[in-house]
């Protein structure tokens, strides 16, 4: 069964480029338009990895990751964060507290994003064999 990737971004048209690339690499991809929708989708079906934008309506990327980490069921899901303003965020909070694997700067390259997703999933396989 292919791995499930959840993409979370309010700019649907743009995130579709990532969806296209990742889908063609053989993953099962779902898209959420904001943090709230993303959280509902995570609760319905646990993804293997989450890629989320930072600035979103209703529930932003940071709020979403906080929810993921707070719930023991989802606490160990690897998260990549897409953002147009990485330098303005508190890096320590992102990496130490929210355990975000990587900040992907916008504009992003679908190719690079796919690589990061694959790498994160591989690390997940080696460290956490339960969810393989």
């Amino acid at each position: 069964m292919s791995k499930r990737v959840l993409l979370c971004d309010d700019e649907i048209q743009i995130i579709r480029a990532a969806e296209f690339k990742i889908k063609r690499a053989g993953y099962d991809v779902a898209i959420a338009a904001d943090g709230q929708e993303g959280w509902e989708m995570i609760q319905q079906q646990r993804p293997d990895i989450v890629v989320t934008d930072c600035q979103m309506p209703h529930l932003d990327g940071l709020g979403l990751v906080k929810k993921i980490r707070a719930n023991p069921e989802t606490a160990d899901i690897p998260v990549l964060m897409l953002t147009a303003k990485g330098y303005e965020l508190d890096q320590e909070y992102l990496f130490e507290t929210l355990k975000i694997l990587e900040l992907v700067a916008k504009p992003f390259s679908p190719r690079e994003l796919l690589k990061s997703v694959e790498q994160a999933l591989q690390e997940q396989d080696t460290t956490d064999p339960v969810h393989t």
């Binding site: 048209q13 743009i14 690339k21 504009p107």
Partner: protein
């Protein structure tokens, strides 16, 4: 024979007369032999001589007394003009001319005259000092008034680090009691140690005459205000004997509130950050799809067209953003020339309707135009107001679904002119109603309904309020529609103002 010569000879004459009178009387007494015919005439002649002598003496003494009293009046009166006049001495009685008394009197006269000169000099200096003191007081009062009129707090210390001066702005900001602080150590007067250090360092460290720093000071409501404080050393040069002090006299600090400046900096940074974010988003779309094309991910023609469409729409979005941004910036900076003229509002509105009509038809939206039959005169820049009207109309069309209704109305309300755009579209929540006028703000769930930059309404608001002195307001119910209205002062009102004429009597 003048009076002086007469006076000179009067003494010997009077003596001779006296002696003669006495001689005649003594002769008469000696030869008295009962012969009255000789004795009586002699007695009479002697008496005549004596009377004449007595009156001469009297005349002399009267004249001397007058001269002497005049002279001493002169000396005691200390009238400098008369004393300095060399003729004053000639008023001396002439019989002193070669006498010891005359020399003494002349000496006393010269001494007194010299003293009078000194007294006059002192009087001049006193008057000059008086004028200087009065002028200095006036200057001080002027400078004090100028200092008091400053909104910027000013505070000065002397070289002993004691408070010398604080204007009322400084007193209220720094909580200084003006009555109690006459000459008190600065450290005890001020709570803000940074300001104390800055002033004392400026006063005592010779390295620099001026120092400045940014200092946060808490006011009485415990709110921190930021000030740029410039402190200068007060130097004095010894200019004369009355002001012998030299060198550093103290230091003065002028505090300028930079809260506005800081807020502006913050808003600028936020704006630039928002702009870059807004630009990065379409750029992200373009780059991502270009990469997909470059990687050959488009297997069929349909996919490729889809990719190219996205790139195209994102490029258009970027272009719109740049144009709107530039428009807004130019308008806000006042680079765009405002050409305000009295013109009919309805004409501008009809033109706006003409511009948006095609987009309304494309969405099958019924655009109702209900303009006031009255002449609604406004003082406005045609292009700008047209832009604002178009923005409101096209917004209404954008966020109203297929087949909806948009109405444009214009009315005269009291002394103002109002036009409003009503739609039965998606409407706004209470929070969104207040935020739609923020730059780049777009209601999230409506983003997909139409392309936009989040700059149309801020631009319209700027045009209505900042350029034309009117108001742009919104009332909206979520899910039922919105009414955006612009109210402008009526230009007709200006000319209808009654002209007051002075009543004829």
């Amino acid at each position: 024979m003048n009076g002086t010569t007469l006076y000179k000879f009067s003494a010997p004459i009077a003596s001779i007369l006296t002696l003669t009178g006495l001689a005649v009387w003594s002769g008469g007494l000696l030869y008295y032999g009962g012969n009255l015919t000789i004795w009586l005439p002699m007695l009479a002649i002697g008496a005549t001589f004596l009377v004449t002598a007595a009156s001469t003496w009297h005349w002399r003494s009267k004249r001397s007394r007058a001269a002497i009293s005049r002279y001493f009046n002169l000396l005691c009166g200390l009238d400098p003009d008369e004393l300095r006049n060399p003729d004053a001495l000639t008023h001396l009685p002439n019989h002193y001319a070669n006498s010891f008394w005359r020399n003494i009197a002349a000496q006393v006269g010269r001494t007194l005259s010299h003293m009078a000169n000194r007294i006059e000099e002192v009087e001049h200096v006193r008057q000059a000092t008086d004028i200087r003191a009065r002028r200095a007081t006036a200057d001080y009062q002027h400078i004090r008034a100028i200092l008091e009129s400053l909104d910027d707090p000013v505070i000065a210390i002397d070289k002993y680090d004691e408070l010398m001066l604080a204007n009322s702005s400084a007193e209220s900001l720094l909580d200084i009691d003006s009555k109690n602080t006459e000459k008190r150590a600065l450290g005890a007067v001020l709570r803000c140690q940074k300001l104390v250090d800055l002033l004392t360092n400026t006063c005592h460290c010779q390295a620099a005459d001026k120092r400045s720093d940014e200092i946060g000071i808490r006011d009485d409501r415990e709110q921190e205000k930021w000030f740029r404080v410039t402190a200068s050393r007060l130097m004095a040069e010894s200019d004369n004997e009355y002001n012998p002090e030299d060198g550093t006299q103290g230091a003065v600090a002028v505090l300028r509130c930079i809260d506005d400046h800081k807020a502006l900096q913050r808003r600028n940074a936020e704006f630039v950050s928002a702009v870059s974010h807004e630009m990065k988003t379409p750029l992200a779309g373009i780059k991502a799809y270009v990469e997909l094309l470059a990687d050959g991910e488009d297997d069929d023609r349909e996919t490729r067209e889809e990719f190219i469409n996205v790139i195209n729409s994102q490029a258009n979005r970027l272009q719109r953003l740049v144009e709107n941004l530039l428009n807004l910036a130019r308008m806000e900076a006042g680079v765009v020339k405002v050409d305000k003229q009295s013109r009919p509002l309805n004409e501008v509105l009809e033109e706006a309707v003409h511009v948006v009509q095609p987009s309304a038809e494309a969405k099958d939206i019924q655009l109702t135009v209900d303009l006031s039959p009255m002449y609604l005169g406004i003082l406005a820049d045609r292009d700008m107001l047209l832009q604002a009207a178009i923005n409101l109309l096209s917004n209404a069309i954008k966020y109203t679904s297929q087949g909806g209704q948009v109405t444009l109305r214009s009315r005269l309300v009291d002394t103002e002119v109002r036009f409003e755009v009503e739609d039965n579209g998606v409407g706004l929540s209470e929070e969104d109603s207040t935020r739609v006028f923020e730059k780049f703000y777009r209601v999230n769930k409506n983003k997909d309904m139409a392309p936009g930059t989040g700059l149309g309404l801020p631009l319209a608001k700027h045009i209505a309020e900042d350029v034309h002195g009117g108001r742009l307001e919104v009332s909206s119910t979520l899910g039922q529609g919105s009414i955006f209205s612009i109210t402008l002062p009526s230009s007709g009102q200006l000319s209808q103002r009654p002209v007051l004429t002075r009543p004829q009597t």
